[in-house]
C-alpha cells in the first residue's frame, strides 16, 4: 500500500512538473513577444489603441467551427468597437503562426490597447473565459453584455 501511494505521489509530482514547465515556456514566449514589438507589424488589420483578440485558426479545425468561432463572434457582438478581433488562417500565414509560437489550433492571444500580448490560450477558450481575460488584461467590459450570438452564426455540432 505504501509503495502504491509513493508511486502515485511520484506520478502526480512528475505530471505537475510537466505542467509547470509548459506554463513557464508559455510565459517566456509571451515575454519574448512583448520585447519584439515587430510581431504586430505583420498583422494587416491591426488598429492602434484598441485591445484585441488575435485568433489563430485553420479551415480544417473542427473545434474552431463548433466552439471557438461562435465564442469569438459572441464577443464581437458584446464588445462592439471596444474590441478588435484579428483572425489568422495559420495554414496560410505560417510565418505569423511561427512568429507567435502557435503550438496548436485554435490559439487565442489577448492583446492590450498598447499592443502588448498579455495572455495566450493554447486550445479552446470559452467566451466567458475570454471575457474574464479581457477584463483582467485589457481592462475592458462588454458594451452590450446581453448580446446573444448573431443569428447568422450557427455552431456546427
Amino acid at each position: 500500500m505504501t509503495d502504491l501511494i509513493l508511486r502515485l505521489s511520484l506520478a502526480v509530482a512528475v505530471i505537475l512538473i510537466g505542467i509547470a514547465v509548459y506554463q513557464l515556456w508559455t510565459r517566456a514566449r509571451l515575454q519574448f513577444l512583448r520585447m519584439h514589438s515587430s510581431a504586430l507589424a505583420g498583422l494587416d488589420d491591426w488598429r492602434v489603441g484598441v485591445p484585441a483578440i488575435l485568433y489563430f485558426t485553420t479551415p480544417d479545425c473542427v473545434p474552431c467551427r463548433t466552439i471557438q468561432g461562435p465564442a469569438i463572434e459572441l464577443l464581437r457582438a458584446q464588445f462592439g468597437e471596444r474590441l478588435q478581433i484579428i483572425t489568422i488562417d495559420a495554414s496560410i500565414r505560417t510565418d505569423l503562426a511561427d512568429t507567435w509560437g502557435v503550438l496548436s489550433i485554435p490559439t487565442t492571444f489577448i492583446i492590450d490597447a498598447q499592443g502588448q500580448p498579455r495572455h495566450v490560450n493554447n486550445g479552446v477558450a470559452s467566451a466567458a473565459k475570454l471575457r474574464t481575460q479581457l477584463r483582467e488584461f485589457a481592462g475592458i467590459e462588454p458594451s452590450e453584455p446581453n448580446a446573444a450570438l448573431p443569428s447568422h452564426v450557427i455552431p456546427e455540432h
Binding site: L4, G18, C61, D95, S104
Partner: protein
C-alpha cells in the same frame, strides 16, 4: 524533394498518444511491468501494420460515437510510424531492463516515452519524426521523406499545404 504527404487524421494520433501516456502512468503506479510490455507490443504491432497501435479505441469507439471528431491535416505518415516504432523499441528495452532486474532504468525509459508522447500531444512536437527527418537529411537509406514546406521538422503541420 520527396514529400509524399496525404491527409492524416491527427485525432487518431492524439488518441493513440493519450492512451500510451495513460497506460504507462497506470503501469508505473501499479508497478505493472506486464502493462509496459503490452503497450510496447501494441506499438510494435501497430507499426508493422502501418497504423497507430491503439487505433481500435479511436476508429472503433470514439469516432463512430462522435466523441472525438476527425482532424485531417496534410502530413507525412512515415515519420509518425517511425516515431511509434521508436517508442515501442524504447519500451522493449525498458522491459528487458526490468527482466534483468534494473527497475530504475526500466522506469526511466518508460517515463521518457511518456514525456515524448506528452510533448507530441500537448506541444505538437514529434521527437521521433524529428529524428526521422534528420536521418532523411543525412541521406540514410530508407529515410527519404522531407518535412512539409514551411514546417519545422517534427512540428505538427498547421493545416493545408497549398
Amino acid at each position: 524533394m520527396n514529400t509524399q504527404w496525404r491527409e492524416i487524421d491527427h485525432s487518431d494520433l492524439k488518441v493513440n498518444q493519450s492512451t500510451i501516456i495513460t497506460l504507462l502512468i497506470i503501469a508505473f503506479v501499479l508497478n505493472a511491468v506486464w502493462l509496459v510490455a503490452l503497450v510496447a507490443g501494441v506499438m510494435g504491432l501497430g507499426t508493422l501494420r502501418r497504423q497507430t497501435g491503439f487505433r481500435i479505441i479511436y476508429a472503433g469507439w470514439l469516432k463512430p460515437r462522435g466523441i472525438v471528431k476527425p482532424q485531417l491535416i496534410p502530413d507525412n505518415p512515415q515519420p509518425h510510424l517511425f516515431a511509434q516504432g521508436m517508442g515501442g523499441t524504447v519500451l522493449l528495452v525498458a522491459v528487458i531492463a526490468f527482466a534483468l532486474g534494473n527497475a530504475i532504468i526500466g522506469w526511466a525509459l518508460t517515463w521518457l516515452v511518456v514525456a515524448l508522447a506528452a510533448l507530441n500531444l500537448f506541444v505538437g512536437f514529434c521527437a521521433g519524426c524529428f529524428v526521422y527527418y534528420w536521418l532523411a537529411r543525412l541521406r540514410v537509406p530508407g529515410f527519404s521523406v522531407q518535412p512539409l514546406p514551411g514546417t519545422f521538422p517534427g512540428m505538427r503541420p498547421k493545416g493545408r499545404t497549398s
